[in-house]
């Protein structure tokens, strides 16, 4: 992924290469591959039928999980090919679940097959594997059949008489093969068939893809379930990070300001004890206590800055990022086109992301010029952080960028990084949110 782009979601674009005819021929040949898949599907369904009919002997049932897993794998092949070849990408519908677990053969068997059998997508896979060999794959192989029939017509002048003489079929489409002339007539018709076959190839492949999509894609319910699963995962992450943050704050307070206040109290009581007999020592102790209180305040300030930076609270993300830029040793240009403030949690997440990205730039990029652009369009808060440094930032290495991504994902936000070697590096984050109108001054 070095120097590449990370972004959530992927898309399959059909590759275009070769001439029109070559491409179509290849497409029709792919129909044959689908036929092959359909045969394998028929085999699997038959195997399942056998397993079920011999279920009375119990042991054949052990074959159920591996067979169902093979069903899954095969269905996934169809899903992938449908995207690449037919231009109809099919998302994988299965619920995520842990494969391993304790227990003996039978307990594991029970768990695994229970999971496979209660998964609605399994049954839809099986429906597809029954329909596809019987009817579905016809859609895929019709083009190549038509083309093949056309080729048969083109070579007809050479082969019609042996066929007819051997008592074979005397007809090519609507042409009655009786003499050389009727054989020659088959040539243009054959060419017509070939052209027709080439023309309908992408059409039929797409229909096939749609048919597969209707059975192999996640149902609305499954899609919702997947979304719910994603949401509970990101919620769990948010809760975890929140809890970890609170623990960190608690520890910082406990080891820092709290401890200093205790020490201050002790110093003050020591000063009180020696106040009468040794005023000089008392004065020294008092000064010590004062220094300790200053240190405690400094620590508390640092802590508050880490929780919620004052300028962010006071003025919102635009000014807060400007303040960041002022404190940064880098030359940072800030462009703020926001007309209002995002909701506080979004604002805070975006601010810390920018802060982290700027820290990254000053640590690694060797940049002279850095720019931060903030704007809101189409219901998205969009922030670009770019630099003219050496580029080649690798999102795979280091936890900083991952951390930012995680934090943003809690708000359905994404981070995309483009950093070719040699620069420039641009990190773009997008967070869906609405802006609230700016507060008007009370003076």
């Amino acid at each position: 992924m070095n120097g590449g782009t990370i972004a959530t979601g992927n898309s399959t674009t059909p590759r275009r290469r070769g001439s029109w005819v070559g491409e179509r021929l290849l497409g029709s040949a792919r129909g044959l591959a689908f036929l092959g898949l359909a045969l394998a599907e028929a085999g699997l369904v038959t195997a399942l039928a056998f397993i079920v009919s011999f279920a009375i002997f119990v042991y054949p049932l052990l074959l159920l999980p591996p067979t169902l897993r093979a069903v899954r794998r095969l269905a996934n092949v169809t899903r992938r090919l449908s995207g690449v070849w037919c231009g109809v990408p099919i998302p994988v519908p299965y619920r995520a679940s842990a494969e391993r677990g304790p227990g003996g053969t039978w307990r594991r068997f029970g768990r695994v097959s229970g999971r496979l059998l209660t998964e609605p997508a399994t049954w839809r896979d099986l429906l597809w594997m029954t329909v596809d060999p019987l009817a579905g794959c016809l859609l895929a192989i019709i083009p190549i059949t038509v083309i093949g029939y056309g080729v048969f017509g083109v070579v007809m002048p050479a082969i019609w008489s042996p066929i007819v003489r051997a008592g074979g079929n005397e007809w090519y489409a609507f042409i009655h093969l009786t003499d050389a002339f009727s054989g020659a007539l088959c040539v243009p018709l054959g060419i017509g068939f070939i052209a027709l076959g080439l023309w309908i190839t992408p059409l039929f492949l797409r229909w096939y893809g749609r048919l597969a999509h209707s059975m192999l894609a996640p149902t609305k319910q499954a899609a919702l379930e997947q979304q719910v699963a994603h949401l509970s995962e990101s919620r769990a992450e948010v809760v975890d990070t929140g809890a970890a943050e609170i623990r960190r704050i608690e520890r910082d307070l406990h080891d820092g300001a709290q401890a200093r206040l205790v020490a201050m109290g002790m110093t003050l009581s020591a000063a009180e004890q020696v106040l009468d007999e040794n005023p000089d020592a008392a004065r020294a102790l008092l000064l010590e206590a004062r220094d300790a209180s200053a240190k405690a305040l400094t620590e508390l300030r640092g802590l508050v800055r880490g929780i919620h930076p004052p300028v962010l609270a006071d003025r919102g993300i635009g000014e807060a990022v400007r303040a960041l830029a002022m404190d940064s040793p880098l030359n940072v240009r800030v462009t703020n086109e926001l007309s209002g403030r995002p909701p506080a949690p979004v604002e805070s997440a975006a601010y810390f992301a920018v802060s982290e990205l700027l820290a990254n730039v000053s640590k690694h990029a060797g940049a002279h010029q850095v720019w931060v652009d903030m704007r809101h369009e189409h219901g998205l808060l969009r922030i670009d952080v770019g630099d003219d440094g050496r580029g080649g930032a690798d999102p795979g290495r280091g936890t900083g960028l991952r951390g930012i991504e995680r934090r943003l994902s809690a708000f359905d936000g994404i981070l995309a990084l483009s950093s070719p070697p040699g620069g420039p590096t641009v990190a773009t984050m997008e967070l869906p949110c609405e802006l609230s109108s700016p507060k008007t001054s009370s003076f």
């Binding site: 004062r290 305040l297 508050v304 300028v311 003025r315 303040a323 002022m326 940064s328 040793p329 003076f443």
Partner: protein, 214 residues
């Protein structure tokens, strides 16, 4: 010298009043909101106002905005802004009109009441009092500046104290050197940074701050 205080926390307000009175200031009014501050400065026309950045009702930068507005309504009103934290962005807003008579200090600075009283007198006299933390952050930001890098450690120390708003006499006392030595350092600093020398303490400080805040 008469001052107005705007601070919403009772303990701090009380402490400030007591401390300032101990140092010979007269507290004309002590209020707890930005609107209260505006009313008080217009009524009492004090020699200076001491304002906390965070005030009700918004508890954001209400105090800072009130201070700026007060300077707008009573031109030349010296204000000393206090805060639990210092931000360059706010320091710039206070310094923006370039007329001096502003201070921006951490609340911690009240611990040293003599120094705090001196800072307030300076501000009331049209000078500036910038928190050392503002200055050190400005300097950190200019770490790559070649002209600043050319300063000797002694000159750098003088520059920091000068940027905080101290007079030559105060710098001399602080560094335990003669005033003439300080004057020599300052003229050397101004030459090295390419700034217009000036005898006016206040204008000198503003020039240095402008240089650092470029």
């Amino acid at each position: 010298m008469r001052v107005v205080i705007a601070e919403d926390l009772f303990l701090l307000r009380d402490g400030l009043i007591r401390m300032l009175e101990a140092h010979g200031f007269e507290v004309a009014a002590a209020v707890d909101t930005g609107a209260g501050l505006l009313a008080a400065v217009e009524e009492h026309r004090p020699d200076a106002a001491v304002v906390d950045v965070r005030l009700p009702p918004t508890f954001t930068d209400e105090g800072l905005r009130a201070a700026l507005e007060a300077r707008h309504r009573v031109p030349g009103l010296p204000v000393l802004v206090l805060s639990q934290y210092v931000e360059q962005i706010y320091a710039r807003e206070l310094l923006a009109d370039g007329s001096g008579g502003v201070g921006y200090l951490l609340k911690d600075r009240v611990f040293d009441s003599a120094q705090f009283a001196e800072a307030l007198r300076r501000v009331a006299g049209g000078g500036t009092a910038m928190d050392p933390e503002v200055i050190s952050r400005l300097l950190a930001r200019n770490a790559d500046d070649r002209d600043l890098g050319g300063l000797s450690p002694r000159e750098r120390e003088v520059l920091e104290l000068m940027a905080e708003g101290r007079s030559n006499a105060a710098i001399a006392q602080r560094m335990v050197i003669t005033e003439r030595a300080v004057a020599k350092h300052t003229s050397s600093i101004f030459t090295k940074l390419g700034l217009q020398p000036s005898d006016d303490d206040n204008r000198r400080v503003l020039a240095v701050l402008a240089y650092l805040g470029r």
